[in-house]
């Protein structure tokens, strides 16, 4: 029996299933907080979330509204400051970072700063926050965002957070710590990973009811389509119940999926 769910609920649930146990994960503001909180509640994980302004290993009794809000240090292991939080990541402890963005390209470069000309912006977004450092330091970066053609573009207007830049070896050449980079992208249409050789985005799994053609039509660059495409399991009643009743009962973020 499947239940009705909105796009935000679907991608949150799918991403939460992929949070690896016993790891340290840097959590960006917005949907990543929803995903991490859901994973903590549905799967009883021994993960350590870290927030960029100092919260280390909180229990998050309710959805944090900000990366600094009380919930990010609630029953935490330590309440540190921003430089310490970023230094921990720079020193190599960040197994995962979890980010959102407004635009992404085939190499997983993320834009959360500006659309159009930097000096005469069509739209100015809030900007990097901690994202640039997260994407530079984490061993694996997970990304979650709405899947629309105008967001999945050949080249982002501005690289806020580095993906594989312009291809294999580019991160290392730029001087970023080696062995890091985007790992998976969770969207309303499916899950995507990156081809080991070309570092280009590849379809990994399709959301229920979405076809390969749909995914291709909604992507502004050439997606790598593997021979065998997986199907994402729809959200279970249990996952939806916990997400709606325990994680975001006031639909602070989930409400955005209804647009």
């Amino acid at each position: 029996m499947s239940e009705e769910y909105n796009a935000m609920e679907l991608m949150t649930i799918v991403a939460s299933r992929d949070i690896e146990d016993r790891k340290i994960i840097y959590v960006g503001t917005g949907i990543p907080m929803l995903v991490t909180s859901l994973a903590q509640k549905t799967r009883n994980l021994k993960i350590t979330p870290i927030f960029e302004v100092g919260g280390i290993g909180p229990e998050m009794p309710t959805l944090p509204l900000s990366v600094a809000c009380s919930r990010t240090t609630w029953r935490a292991l330590r309440s540190a400051d921003s430089s310490e939080a970023f230094e921990i990541a720079q020193a190599g402890f960040a197994d995962y970072a979890f980010l959102g963005g407004a635009q992404i390209d085939k190499y997983g470069n993320l834009n959360s700063t500006v659309l159009g000309d930097y000096h005469a912006p069509k739209v100015r977004f809030p900007g990097s926050g901690g994202a640039n450092a997260f994407a530079s330091f984490a061993w694996k970066t997970m990304i979650i965002m709405n899947h629309e053609k105008r967001r999945f573009v050949e080249k982002v207007d501005y690289i806020t957070s580095p993906g594989y830049l312009d291809g294999p070896g580019a991160r290392e050449k730029a001087g970023l710590p080696p062995g890091t980079g985007p790992y998976k992208v969770y969207t309303t249409m499916g899950t995507f990973d990156f081809d080991e050789k070309t570092k280009r985005m590849r379809l990994f799994s399709l959301s229920p009811g979405v076809t390969v053609d749909d995914a291709v039509a909604n992507t502004g660059f050439e997606l790598i389509i593997p021979n065998k495409v997986r199907q994402t399991e729809p959200p279970t009643r249990e996952e939806l119940k916990i997400l709606r009743e325990e994680v975001d009962p006031y639909r602070v973020i989930l409400g955005r999926g209804e647009a």
Partner: protein, 343 residues
């Protein structure tokens, strides 16, 4: 052996305040003796802040932000500010919405994180950038934290291992060099000194020995140490005897601090970890006022809550007084649900 500059951000500039300038300032102007610094917000702002200053704010987004002091900054007509960013949100919106800012080093601006992006604020910022009335130098939360840290350490820059590859580097004032030790490429970010830091804390004695009793420290240790003047606003004044009993809990020793302002609920509508939670309804009222892109509703919001009031105490009465604040305290400790029903 020389350190070769490989690449320079386009916003590279000579620092406004160097470590040596700061050392002399500290020698000549910081309070080396322990003296009573208590004063009201009006006096503190009048005495220690002026138009054109480089300013930093405590906390982040809508958490432990110095709202009580910022109301005074707005009322006293201070403008042309250079904002040292990090994750700024409601606090800097108060200034940009009213045209008081000429430069920002972000961080994060405009948005209210999970609560969304206020439309009018975004429009004001976009137009100011396009007209050249507001300039930005792109940094991010990590580089901003480290820039304050470098300043606090008394050194001119700090090497970091991010920013390369990202466009943030291009629009920053950073430089990329080859590390003389490892031969790896590193980015050097310049120390950032400020004229004044506005820091809201839980507890302070009359001298400015202050505590953040719980919650994330954000960039505040760096901000305190990198500022020529520090205005502390505090939820509560405590006895120095109490500070001396638990010195490990002191966040700032007095000699960094120039003014101590008692400001209970001074972060409202922001969250004060361990005291009161975010006033979501008030922030929603603000965000709704921003939906009117003629700017009229936002003007009314400011006239009602800030320009139409004479003090933060008056503002607290206006937002619902004791009853409202008690509810926000209950919310903080999960004793009630949003809206007020028992948890």
């Amino acid at each position: 052996m020389e350190m070769k500059i490989l690449e320079k951000g386009t916003k590279f500039q000579e620092p406004k305040i160097t470590p040596n300038d700061f050392r002399e300032w500290v020698r000549d102007n910081k309070p080396h003796a322990m003296e009573d610094k208590t004063m009201d917000a009006k006096t503190a702002v009048k005495k220690f802040m002026k138009s054109g200053d480089i300013v930093s704010h405590s906390g982040c987004s809508f958490v432990r932000i110095p709202v009580a002091i910022l109301h005074e900054v707005l009322r006293q007509g201070i403008r042309d500010l250079y904002v040292a960013g990090g994750t700024r949100s409601y606090d800097v919106n108060l200034l940009t919405d009213n045209g008081r800012v000429s430069h920002i080093d972000p961080g994060y601006i405009i948005g209210l994180e999970t609560l969304g992006v206020p439309r009018m604020t975004r429009k004001i910022v976009e137009q100011a950038i396009t007209k050249g009335e507001l300039t930005l130098t792109e940094w991010d939360n990590a580089s901003m934290a480290w820039r304050h840290k470098a300043a606090g350490m008394g050194i001119p820059f700090i090497p970091v291992r991010h920013m390369m590859g990202a466009d943030g580097f291009k629009f920053s004032g950073a430089v990329k060099v080859e590390c003389p030790f490892t031969k790896e490429e590193v980015v050097l970010v310049p120390a950032l000194y400020t004229d004044v830091a506005l820091i809201h804390v839980h507890e302070s004695d009359i001298y400015g020995n202050a505590r953040i009793t719980t919650g994330a420290i954000v960039e505040d240790w760096g901000k305190v140490r990198s500022a020529k003047r520090v205005i502390i606003s505090t939820e509560k004044i405590v006895d120095t005897e109490d500070i001396r009993k638990q010195p490990d809990r002191t966040f700032v020793p007095y000699f960094y601090v120039d003014a101590v302002v008692q400001a209970p609920y001074g972060s409202h509508p922001g969250n004060m970890p361990g005291r009161y939670y975010v006033d979501i309804e008030h922030l929603t009222e603000y965000k709704n006022a921003c939906e009117d892109v003629t700017g009229e509703a936002l003007k009314q919001y400011y006239n009602k809550y800030i320009f139409g009031t004479d003090s933060f105490e008056e503002y607290l009465q206006m937002i619902g007084g004791e009853k409202r604040l008690k509810y926000l305290e209950d919310l903080e400790f999960l004793r009630v649900k949003p809206g007020g029903a028992p948890a």
